[in-house]
């Protein structure tokens, strides 16, 4: 599909990424000189608590930072320097080669249009010369691929007629129709029930296996990244704390902050005891 692919390098290489917001008191940096890579076909988890800068990192890659934000550093996607692209060229990458899903699918879907229209129009905006009829067929096929039963009928339903989990499937279908090379999922299952979460995570794994797309999963949930990703970046207050292969991070964390996070996660199948916290109640004052 792309002319520059198979450069042999990683799918995504981020170097010295910094995101700052100018304020009266100078620039406030919410992402500070971040370096990481995503291998082709790899799954990278970016984990952190609120304020860690993990979501800003994904928006920076997508070129979707809020107004006023300043982005510096390098974001190389399949050999192309994204920070050098003009908005028009970036639009061709975004949604088409790099697709993103968010925590709340309802706010990403327009309540006034059927899901089929939205998937089809998103597709047509990136594929010139495709007819409405063709795009509708693509939408139905994409909905079938994310296991929405009776897709030929459901394609004409509105977002409110779908449950939270089904809406997230619709978003994934929209993303899939474009056959992206990189999926960025920002807390995609945080608002979902645990049984639905399991289905969506299975679906993402299935899509990766089928298409070979790379995945960046942004989440606060260490158990989820441990199951889904092969490489982990731990962030705190805009900074990279540590990164490494998933098993190394979980078996031999090098940084005190990572160890604290792992100690704080309640386990469903491990010992029950006082959850260890480095910051005691008194330090929290």
């Amino acid at each position: 599909m792309s002319t520059t692919s198979d450069t042999g390098g990683p799918l995504l290489r981020v170097r010295g990424l910094t995101v700052g917001f100018p304020t009266a008191a100078g620039s406030v940096e919410v992402v500070k000189s971040l370096d990481f890579e995503l291998a082709r076909g790899g799954a990278l988890g970016i984990v952190g608590e609120s304020g860690s800068g993990k979501s800003m990192t994904s928006l920076a890659i997508m070129g979707l930072l809020p107004k006023g934000a300043r982005r510096t550093g390098s974001i190389e996607f399949d050999g192309t320097e994204l920070t050098a692209l003009r908005e028009r060229a970036m639009r061709a990458v975004r949604g088409d080669r790099i697709a993103m899903i968010f925590q709340d699918p309802l706010s990403s879907l327009n309540p006034y249009y059927t899901v089929g229209t939205q998937i089809a129009e998103a597709y047509r905006s990136h594929r010139k010369g495709v007819t409405r009829r063709q795009a509708r067929a693509v939408a139905i096929e994409a909905m079938e691929r994310v296991h929405i039963h009776d897709a030929a009928r459901r394609v004409d339903h509105y977002p409110h007629q779908f449950s939270g989990g089904m809406r997230q499937r619709v978003m994934i279908a929209m993303m899939l129709s474009m056959e992206p090379e990189l999926l960025i999922a920002d807390e995609p299952t945080t608002a979902l029930d645990v049984t639905v979460q399991a289905q969506i995570l299975d679906l993402l794994a299935e899509i990766r296996a089928d298409t070979g797309a790379g995945l960046i999963l942004i989440t606060h949930d260490l158990a989820v990244v441990s199951e889904v990703t092969d490489h982990i970046v731990v962030m705190r207050e805009g900074e990279l704390v540590e990164q490494g292969p998933v098993e190394r991070i979980f078996t031999d964390p090098r940084e005190a902050y990572t160890r604290m996070l792992l100690d704080a996660v309640p386990r469903i199948d491990d010992e029950i005891g006082l959850l260890k916290t480095t910051a005691s109640a008194e330090e929290d004052r």
Binding site: Q197, L261, P266, I268, D284
Partner: protein
């Protein structure tokens, strides 16, 4: 735990229906959110009520807190019926049963200081404030791990975890016998969540009150529950001691729920503990040299 004795709270055959749709003559369809729910909370224990969204767990909590009226069924607290309480008697009940909500910011008045928030339940019940508002608030803040010097601050000046501690302090102000925690730690970052869980456990050990702990997160529930009741579709599908429910669930839905919980591999945890121990030994050796 007083085995065999009267439970602190006993709810029997609770039903809550809501009107949905409406219809021209006000004869809309009815939706049964809570469908024949019976449960007991014993003195000093934590009963966790778990389920997914729409399971009826929060509605059940609200019925017990008397924030909603039952359609049918009985609620007894310390042997006395509470579903028909009004006026003074209802006030007294609210002193015995307190609720801590999920979102501390929306459940705390943003225009009130911590002191006013924490003493409000006593003021509302026209009860004297032991030792005066300042000292009383300071003592409560210390018990929940907050700096008593911050009693004149407003909720927005605290982090999410600290704000939740204020909510807990307010619940403690009236020395309740039962605290209903409705997703009380769900919105917190994992490190803060661990602190608040530890705080809730410590307070229970100190005070001996009971929790009705409403949550969707089974891993959290496992850390705090004495017994667990699993809800699905408005009904309790299984009730049992914590270890029984987690280790040998009887109901199919419970099994499905447990299987869906994402988990860190226990063998990774085991290896991490070994590595951690080795690291500590190494540090000790180097320090001793």
């Amino acid at each position: 735990m007083s085995d065999g004795s009267e439970p602190l709270l006993r709810a029997t055959h609770l039903v809550k229906e809501f009107a949905v749709g409406g219809g021209l003559l006000g004869r809309g369809r009815r939706f049964t959110a809570v469908d024949d729910v019976s449960l007991e909370v014993r003195t000093g224990e934590t009963l966790a009520l778990v389920g997914e969204s729409g399971s009826g767990k929060s509605t059940t909590a609200r019925l017990i807190a008397r924030l909603l009226d039952v359609t049918a069924g009985d609620i007894e607290f310390a042997g006395r019926p509470v579903h028909a309480l009004t006026g003074k008697a209802l006030h007294a009940y609210r002193g015995e049963v307190q609720v801590v909500f999920q979102d501390p910011y929306s459940s705390l008045n943003p225009k009130h200081t911590v002191e006013r928030i924490v003493t409000a339940p006593l003021v509302y019940q026209k009860r004297p404030i032991p030792g005066g508002a300042r000292a009383f608030t300071g003592a409560l803040m210390e018990r929940v791990g907050l700096n008593p010097d911050h009693s004149a601050r407003f909720p927005a000046q605290f982090s999410g975890g600290q704000a939740q501690r204020i909510g807990i302090a307010r619940a403690l102000a009236v020395s309740p016998k039962l605290i209903i925690a409705d997703e009380a730690v769900s919105a917190l970052d994992v490190s803060v969540q661990a602190q608040v869980i530890n705080l809730l456990r410590r307070l229970q050990e100190e005070e001996g009150f009971s929790y009705l702990f409403i949550a969707h997160d089974l891993a959290v529930v496992r850390q705090i529950a004495t017994r667990v009741a699993v809800m699905n579709g408005g009904r309790i599908v299984e009730t049992g001691d914590r270890d029984q429910v987690f280790d040998s669930p009887r109901d199919e839905y419970t099994r499905k729920l447990l299987a869906a919980v994402p988990r860190i591999r226990p063998e990774w945890d085991a290896e991490r503990r070994r590595n951690e121990q080795a690291r500590k030994d190494r540090e000790r050796e180097e320090a001793g040299r």
